[in-house]
């Protein structure tokens, strides 16, 4: 059936009418629709479509016609209403004016002429091109993307060095520049410690602990994992960063965190630290600390690195005095909690209810550096720990998805993240793994890290709490007890809130330690007791 509705002397531009026609034609049950001005041509067309000629007579080109052919009256009613609504509606969905989005790097620079840093997280194949363009434009670069070739990294860093620009990354997950968090970073108090770090969660742990100890960060510069480790890259970014921090009046202490550098690179970078004219702390993960120098303290773990830096930043006169302030009887108990003796008590308390079958440590990590820190400690103390991060092939996990013996798993490893978000963003895979370890009667203790801050999951504790509950219940049902030990890398100012996250874990019976290294020590102590052949 056909219906004509006319609004006399109501003019609409033809484009609005065509748009309305298109919308009405798409409605279910509408066979034909014309929304148009009653020009002679359109009147002829409507007559041709079979609309009543008598109704069309006498219309003028200034009259609006809504002509609809549909199966039922209801559809006719709805379609007619919809046609007038479509004409009435002023678009509120147009692109918002004044939004800060650009279509290309070049136009972004035009939009923000004061821009000084470009953050790049595009797929690796394209990342080097974009970074080069940014450097060419005189911008500092933070390159989050991985899968950038070594050649490209060397070329980019050579270009950056020649221009004196900061080239953080590739594969740089975190930095804090001028107090602003880049990618995965925590809301850390500003202060006078400058950090240069080749590792992501290492930088996060040190910066958060500095905040905890009452100190703060002037700048935290990520370099990417290969910067010091690979001789070809030669620490180009680290060297430039150390120089900049040496010249920075807001920085009074420099902290360097990295995996062991290539030998030649180590010498160059330590020389740079020595000539910085400021006290420094160096921590090379997986390497026994060297003897302190006059101005460089060598830390044995991330917490100690933060502790030494904090004490030096607070006015300690060199490494020797800083170390004196860390001694158990120094009166600075604030910095050394819980003490080793207390950790032993906690371990004994947790291990007391283990069943004889429970023997092994299972560390489930989201942070790669945190996993490594725990792994080196545990591997030495437990007589061998399997891991997907193991450098010793004999101890490399045969199947990273299944733990055997003592195991520390880095769930941020490529084996787990191909096609999936990183567990710091989506903790679901780790929650499943917690349940899996809980179902294993040999698990004596589960060790966890929780990394807060910008970029991380909004509630990592809440995301693994049900899994912890299930794992512990499973152990209890077998007549045992499952200790869960964790540390939370975060600050009170982080979006997730440090205390709130700790409270969620403690409500599940998790023993929360103030740092990753202390959590690892407690878990190791529990595992040792489990190994100790209780009667």
């Amino acid at each position: 059936m056909k219906r004509l509705t006319v609004r006399k002397d109501t003019y609409f531009d033809s484009v609005f009418l065509m748009l309305a026609t298109r919308g009405i034609k798409a409605l279910p049950g509408v066979a034909e629709a014309v929304v148009a001005m009653a020009t002679p041509m359109n009147v002829d067309l409507l007559a041709g479509l079979g609309f009543p000629k008598e109704e069309l007579a006498g219309l003028s080109p200034n009259d609006l016609v809504v002509a609809i052919d549909a199966d039922t009256d209801a559809v006719l009613d709805d379609a007619t209403t919809a046609a007038f609504d479509a004409l009435k509606r002023k678009s509120g969905t147009g692109a918002a004016a004044g939004n800060r989005t650009a279509a290309s790097l070049a136009s972004g620079l035009a939009l923000a002429p004061d821009a000084n840093l470009v953050l790049i997280s595009v797929p690796g194949t394209y990342a080097a091109r974009e970074a080069r363009k940014a450097l060419d434009a005189g911008m500092h670069v933070m390159l989050f993307s991985d899968n950038v070739s070594l050649d490209d990294e060397v070329a980019l860093k050579t270009l950056a060095s020649s221009k004196g620009l900061l080239m953080m990354g590739p594969d740089c997950g975190t930095a804090i520049i001028n107090g602003k968090p880049l990618c995965f970073a925590n809301a850390v108090r500003r202060g006078n410690v400058g950090i240069v770090a080749a590792s992501g969660t290492g930088l996060q742990e040190v910066s958060c602990l500095l905040d905890r100890f009452g100190s703060g960060v002037s700048q935290a510069i990520g370099t990417g994992g290969r910067d010091l480790k690979n001789a070809a890259v030669g620490g180009r970014t680290s060297l430039l960063a150390i120089r900049a921090l040496a010249a920075d009046p807001a920085t009074s202490v420099i902290a360097l965190v990295s995996k062991p550098p290539a030998p030649d690179v180590a010498k160059t970078v330590l020389d740079a630290l020595r000539s910085a004219g400021k006290p420094a702390v160096a921590f090379f993960l997986g390497m026994p600390p060297a003897a302190d120098e006059e101005r460089i303290a060598y830390a044995s773990d991330l917490e100690e690195a933060a502790l030494l830096a904090s004490l030096l930043a607070g006015g300690a006169d060199g490494p020797m005095q800083a170390r004196a302030l860390m001694l158990e009887d120094s009166g600075n108990d604030h910095y050394n909690k819980p003490r080793p003796s207390r950790i032993d008590e906690l371990a004994a308390d947790e291990a007391r209810r283990l069943s004889p079958a429970q023997r092994y440590l299972r560390g489930l990590y989201t942070g790669g550096t945190l996993a490594d820190e725990a792994l080196f400690l545990a591997h030495a103390q437990l007589g061998g720990v399997r891991s997907n991060n193991q450098t010793d092939p004999a101890w490399l996990m045969a199947d990273p998805f299944r733990s055997e013996g003592h195991a520390i798993v880095d769930l941020g490893d490529d084996a787990f993240t191909s096609g999936k978000p990183h567990p710091m963003i989506d903790p679901a895979a780790r929650a499943e793994r917690i349940v899996q370890e809980g179902a294993d009667g040999e698990t004596a203790v589960i060790l966890l890290d929780l990394v807060l801050g910008y970029g991380s999951h909004p509630d990592p504790a809440g995301a693994c709490a049900p899994a912890i509950r299930a794992a512990r219940a499973a152990a209890t049902s077998r007549g045992g007890y499952l200790p869960v030990v964790a540390s939370v890398t975060g600050t009170p100012a982080d979006p997730q809130g440090y205390s709130a996250q700790v409270a969620v874990l403690e409500a599940e019976g998790v023993v929360v330690m103030p740092s990753n290294v202390r959590a690892a020590r407690l878990a190791i102590a529990i595992a040792k007791l489990a190994q100790g052949g209780r009667a």
Binding site: N42, A102, L105, G164
Partner: protein, 475 residues
Amino acid sequence: MNNTAINELFSKPLSALNLGLQSFADNLAAAGAPVVHVDWKPPAGGDTAAMAALDRLAAGARVDIEAANAEAVRRILSAKPTVTGIGLALDTVPGMATDLILHSGPPVAWKDMCGPMRGAIMGGLIYEGLAGTPEEAERLASSGTIRFDSCHHHDAVGPMAGVMTAHMPVWIVENKAFGNTAYCTLNEGLGKVLRYGAYGPEVIERLRWMRDELAPVLSEALAARGQLDMKTIIAQVLQMGDEGHNRNRAGTSIVIRELAPFIVALDRPRDQLAKVLSFLNANDHFFLNLTMPSAKCTVDAAAGIEGSSIITTMARNGTEFGIRLSGLPGRWFTGPAGVVDGLYLPGYGPEHAARDIGDSVITETSGIGGFAMAAAPAIVKFVGGSPADAVNVTLRMYEITAAENDAYQIPALDFRGTPTGIDVRKVVDTGILPAINTGIAHKDPGIGMVGAGLVKPPENAFRDALIAFADRYAK
């Protein structure tokens, strides 16, 4: 190794650009840092050969591409298109002959032509008296005795099918700054017209009237008035709500104002003059056939500059979309003509649409049309519905152009010059294709315009052109 730039960064507020994950921009904004998020897309749509071409050019070229482009842009901006008169195609258009029919877009053989193009050619043959019936015309067209060529090979442009035959009157538009000339037929109006492939008796009759009365009247009036400075008029129409391609109401009005006093003063029968003025008044797009040759002679002046990556031709023939680069003269790079995303006249829909056709995209090539969308609020429904959408279309075109026009300005953008001089490197790099406004022809010959809208040109034409450009100029 100098660290002062880094220390300068430490001493100033952080202001970041973010390419990639939007959440990193959101985090920075939440932490109070100014940040601009870049809506990043893989360059060249991830096409490795095109990306390699970009990199080769970036690594070093045998000529100074930037200087070559600056020269191309200088020529485009300093062009002075001027309507000098009306002539017969055979007498004025270079290479025109009685056995030659020109058409829009890149060269195309009869067997590959779309419906409207074939219909227009059949109509052209009837108009020339070379065929008596459509059947005869079709036989003749496919016989091989009639030659076909692209308008662009003869300094000409034509809307839609763009068919030009020997005895059609043409506008003569001279670029006074460089002495080159462009030609275009006169606009026939809407409805059943040759350019949309119609060839019925009323079409032929109108074409003959245009030759016998309209052209002489306009020609005499123009001679009496003096030459028309098109640059000034186009600059004005952009301030009056036209964008120079799909909306021509202001331009047509200006031309009527300019010519009417001289038309009515001609020593010709009153009814003849009245018919001419009524014809102009009834045809909103009359001005388009003046804008097109103006744009054509403007960009032609920039053709053939060694090392320039500026696009000097974009054109469609209903089968293929083609472009030519300044630095690669004579070479067409083509891809399949697109389907227009458009709005339709009552009674028609996408099922009736022919593929993208016509030389009118020369307006975009010269920096108006879709590139000046922000100037034409009346037709924003073509680009999303709101004036802000139209502004965004124009803003995006600055991403792929080398200059801002010093004569053509957009009131809504605080009189910023229109984006002008399309650089094929930028098109491929950003993946932003030129915004092209266009009319939609019925796919069958003889029906006419069924709508209008926006068309997406084929990306491969731009990539192929870039790769050829890199082959020629990269070190």
